[in-house]
């Protein structure tokens, strides 16, 4: 028996996407996207600028309303279509089971609020009302993303770009989400900081058993983090499969172009 079929029979997918489409007027944002994401799996989405990666991610995370299709998430009460559910329920998901890491940490952080307050916000949003415990947890999480505990009362504006991105990750993971959406998490960082961040992310994803969807145009990022890969072009998924398989043996002409465009140092 094929082991992958066996896995599908015993495990419910965490996220099932069916025929998801989003149009901007006559233009295609993304069209007819289908995939299943299983618990603990990391899916990479790559493609050139304008290929619909970010549109797809926004539709999945509920920031944009898709025109067609279903996004079925395995909530604690069973599978639910997040496109159809009410805004209140979707926001509850967004601050408990989901996390969203923005490309620019300034979009995902509250720049006027201290690092501790940023990490604590999600805890307080789900009902934590004990200052000491919130603070302990914030300090613990700052440690996990390699930010010194004495920076807990500093504002993010006093942090470097890499630190801001790590703070954003801590802020998102503090409530123990099951699914993390990441939009170019390493964009705008220099390569040595990128490497540290990727190392950190890989550790956290494995340690917490997170499922993640990572949108990027950096093939090194998906090589390192993603189990499976989806290649998008012009709003359509042109190829998908295991990461190493897609990158080492690209079938579609666009994937071949993409893989061969990477500069070798």
């Amino acid at each position: 028996m094929d082991t992958r079929i066996w896995a599908k029979m015993t495990t419910q997918p965490l996220l099932s996407v069916r025929n998801l489409s989003k149009f901007y007027g006559g233009r295609i944002g993304c069209a007819d996207v289908n995939f299943d994401l299983f618990p603990g799996e990391v899916l990479g989405i790559v493609g050139e600028s304008g290929s619909g990666k970010s549109t797809l991610l926004s539709c999945l995370a509920g920031h944009l309303a898709p025109d067609r299709g279903e996004v079925i998430f395995a909530t604690t009460e069973g599978p639910r279509d997040t496109v159809q559910m009410g805004e209140a329920a979707r926001r509850r998901l967004a601050r408990t089971d989901w996390a969203y890491v923005h490309q620019n940490p300034r979009d995902g952080l509250r720049m006027g609020v201290s690092a501790g307050g940023n990490v604590g916000e999600r805890l307080m949003a789900v009902g934590a009302r004990h200052y000491g415990q919130i603070r302990d947890k914030a300090v613990d999480w700052l440690g996990r993303v390699e930010i010194a505990a004495d920076r807990v009362d500093d504002r993010p504006s006093a942090f470097s770009g890499g630190m801001q991105q790590r703070l954003q990750i801590a802020r998102n993971l503090v409530t123990g989400p099951r699914l993390v959406f990441m939009d170019e998490p390493t964009g705008g960082l220099d390569v040595s900081v990128q490497a540290r961040l990727l190392d950190l992310l890989r550790g956290l994803v494995r340690e917490m058993g997170l499922s993640a969807i990572i949108v990027t145009h950096d093939l090194a990022v998906v090589r390192l983090l993603a189990d499976r890969l989806m290649v998008m072009k012009g709003g359509y998924v042109v190829e998908q499969g295991l990461t190493d398989q897609v990158l080492d043996d690209p079938q579609h002409e666009y994937t071949q172009l993409l893989v061969s465009s990477v500069l070798q140092v």
Binding site: R95, V113, G117, G120, M124, A125, H130, Y131, D153
Partner: protein, 291 residues
């Protein structure tokens, strides 16, 4: 009195009052919810109580007895001019005694004397949105109220404690009304917050520039937000009134010369005066006639 002046009782025209009364009724029906209304220009600048004046005008009837206070005092410019405005435009009786008034317009205080059923307390509100300084987008704050997404409110209190070691918000202290809406009680000192809850009077809040009216019906629940390990505490100057010796009223600190001398006096002038009439004299007070 001609029919025309009777029709225009209390400055505003009847259509405007009707519109404001509808907003007030909606506010009373949904405690703590900010009801938009078409605020009119009033003959005073924004920030001087245009919202409160419109709500008062919409509530007044000829039999009413009006009291106006500003920071607890009956005799400050704002209080005197608004009281005179309604004396001239509505011809209603006025008073300085809290217990005798049927409508009380207030800026920044709740009177010390407990209010009773049948009284209306009208607040002047500069900024009705408790989330304003945390989330500048009005579309987003409205959505947050709609979805009861109030985690951000505690972020502000968290920041207070991490920066000052305690909740440093001393006025404008947010309350959760009837387990639903988080409400800005206008800039009253947090000393007054416990009086918001379970109050026998109708409490109406008018924000003229921001065009919002909200309300607390009598005997509503209003819980001041806090943390389990940093509970809400109503605070006041640790002193008794120097004029009337009241140990439990909210005090103003008054600098009396350039040598650093100071005195603490009740901010509620009516409360202070009636205590002195009743014979309570503080260290710097003098007996008042008519006691």
């Amino acid at each position: 009195m001609t029919d025309q002046t009777a029709y225009n009782f209390a400055y505003l025209d009847e259509q405007t009052k009707r519109m404001i009364r509808r907003a007030i009724l909606k506010g009373v029906a949904i405690p703590g919810y900010q009801v938009p209304f078409a605020s009119r220009e009033m003959p005073m600048p924004y920030g001087w109580g245009t919202g409160g004046v419109q709500v008062t005008a919409a509530c007044l009837v000829p039999e009413d007895r009006l009291k106006v206070i500003d920071q607890g005092a009956d005799d400050t410019t704002n209080a005197v001019s608004i009281r005179r405005f309604f004396q001239r435009t509505a011809g209603v009786a006025v008073t300085e005694a809290t217990a005798e008034a049927t409508v009380i317009q207030t800026r920044h205080r709740i009177p010390e004397t407990p209010l009773t059923e049948g009284q209306i307390l009208v607040y002047q509100v500069p900024i009705p949105e408790p989330l304003r300084f945390l989330e500048p987008r009005e579309t987003e704050t409205r959505k947050m109220h709609e979805l009861e997404d109030y985690g951000l409110m505690h972020v502000k209190l968290y920041e207070d404690i991490s920066r000052h070691g305690q909740i440093a918000t001393a006025y404008d202290y947010p309350v959760k009304v009837e387990g639903r809406y988080v409400m800005d009680p206008s800039p009253i000192p947090k000393f007054d917050n416990p009086k918001l809850a379970g109050n026998a009077a109708i409490q109406l809040f008018g924000a003229g520039r921001e065009q919002r009216i909200y309300a607390l019906p009598p005997y509503s629940e209003a819980i001041s937000l806090d943390f389990d390990d940093y509970p809400f505490a109503a605070s006041k100057a640790d002193h008794a009134c120097d004029l009337c010796a009241a140990p439990d009223s909210y005090l103003d600190e008054v600098i009396t010369d350039d040598q650093g001398s100071r005195m603490f006096v009740c901010s509620d002038t009516d409360f202070c005066a009636s205590r002195r009439k009743a014979g309570h004299i503080g260290p710097m007070g003098t007996p008042m006639a008519g006691g």
